[in-house]
Amino acid sequence: MNPTHLVLGVIGADCHSVGNKILDAYFTEAGFHVTNLGVMVSQDEFIDAAVETDAAAILVSSLYGHGEIDCEGLRAKCVERGLDRILLYVGGNLVVGKTPYAEVEKKFLDMGFNRVFGPQVDLAEVVELLRSDIAAAGRK
């Protein structure tokens, strides 16, 4: 069985690399094939890599506060590029300033992300969710 492909990266002009390295290690360890684009990744770079690897999901990080600006339109661009079933996960310190999680979640769900995570998320739970979301989406 081929491992499921994921694309991972930190969007925009964001340089926070520590969490990214940990996510890479964690999802690889969990059995996924991770294409890690590192920090400062543009929407197009995410999509190119997803197309290229036939990825089941794109895992977007944003730590530095500009997530709101940087992530806008990603879903539309995915659809445009034919990635209509791809899962979009996003996590980190997504907006500027300490903000109730529910508010942040709504904002990013509305933008078309499938799941939204705060910085204190338990990665084991993310892996569970990802597996079941992928299964539900009929991919493996």
Partner: protein
Amino acid sequence: MRFEQMAWKDFLAQRLEVLKTWPTGKDVDLDEGLRYQRGIPEPKNFARAMNKAKSGRKTLIQPRAGVALIDDHIRLLRHLETEGTADLLPTTIDAYTRQNRYAEAAVGIEKSTAAGHSLLNGFPAVNHGVSGCRRVTEAVTKPIQVRHGTPDARLLAEISLAGGFTSYEGGGISYNIPYAKKVDLGDSLRAWRYVDRLVGYYEENGISINREPFGPLTGTLLPPFIGHVVAILEGLLALEQGVKSITLGYGQGGNVLQDLAALTSLRELAGEYFAKAGFSDFDLTIVFHQWMGGFPEDEAKAFAVISLGAFVAAAAEVEKIIVKSPHEAMGIPTKEANASGLKATRQVLSMLTDQKICADNDIIRREKELIRNEVRCLMEAVENAAGGDPIQGICRAFAGGLLDIPFAPSIYNRGRVLPARDNEGFIRLFSKGNLPLTDDIMSFHKDRLAERAKAESRPVTFQMVTDDIYAISKSKLIGRPK
């Protein structure tokens, strides 16, 4: 290594190009900038404040802060100087500006105006231009500094110095390797040579501008000597261009004795290397950064981390401490949260101000000796790689992994060094990558880590590193297995 000032005509030639990179550049006039700076009252000069802190053995407190719009930014700074009793003020620059993406910063300003709150993570000083900066610097009573993370910070420097800022953070290594991905190291070093020359020009004309290389780098499990070498190199490059007031930094590591050793040795070693390179007319001060890694989400716990940092600053008698807020783990702080970090810090500092605490003991001496030896190994390697030219030396050293900063995003950094805490929480190396450390030094590191591995009945692996990265945010110093 030879240290040579940039030729003035080269500077001016470059300058024409730099000022064209964004429309606000055209408003910068060097001489008018000098005149403007001459009018700034002395107590608002940052270099002078740092010098006074040193002679008076005071530790000054400074927050980080910056929002998109000028009026909001002024309100924020005023709150920090009144309610927060900040001694020194910052203007933290947004992340688009840091990447010279001024068009995106402009979008951020627009969206922020529309939203009624800041959507940018800092103050877009280039977009606001000289007059915008002056509105800010004139609105406050304390010395004020530009804090950022910009590999090519030439335009920002031109605008902000003409705009009345009297201190400028950063350096060609420290504002590239941790802050950028694909910026050529030689390019950023040369861009910073320009910035330092600009500051040197102000100095020559009687305006002292403080310069502060960014010490903490990635803020993540950084062994003291790595940051020290970068700080010393950037210090040398700044002095080369005529900078006089220089503040070197170090970020809290978490082990109190290692932090104390690091802070004293930074002052000593920098002084020695600067003198050895032939510099004498400089004013060296030290800044300590409260814990720069992941914070606990809980605000009470964050206050504890903040207070512990303040304790170390007081014990080490540094001239300045950069203060975190109880919102650190969650997002850019509100002005109230930011002020509360300052107040907690102030309280610890003033309770300890007349006390002498563990200034010296056997362990501190052991660690200082270690740091001194480690720094010597790396400095010699850079010198050897330099062939006379320090910028060359630094580029070659990074290319060869003789300098290597853990967890950094830059592709010009090898990223093969792996640190971990030993059984008492000292930050050690478990993989040195290609760092030119002697076997003696490495066997000390390895022994100390073996001790921890034994205590935890597990090998030293990347899991241990990960555990250590999370530790403080999970209320521990050392990431022990459950």
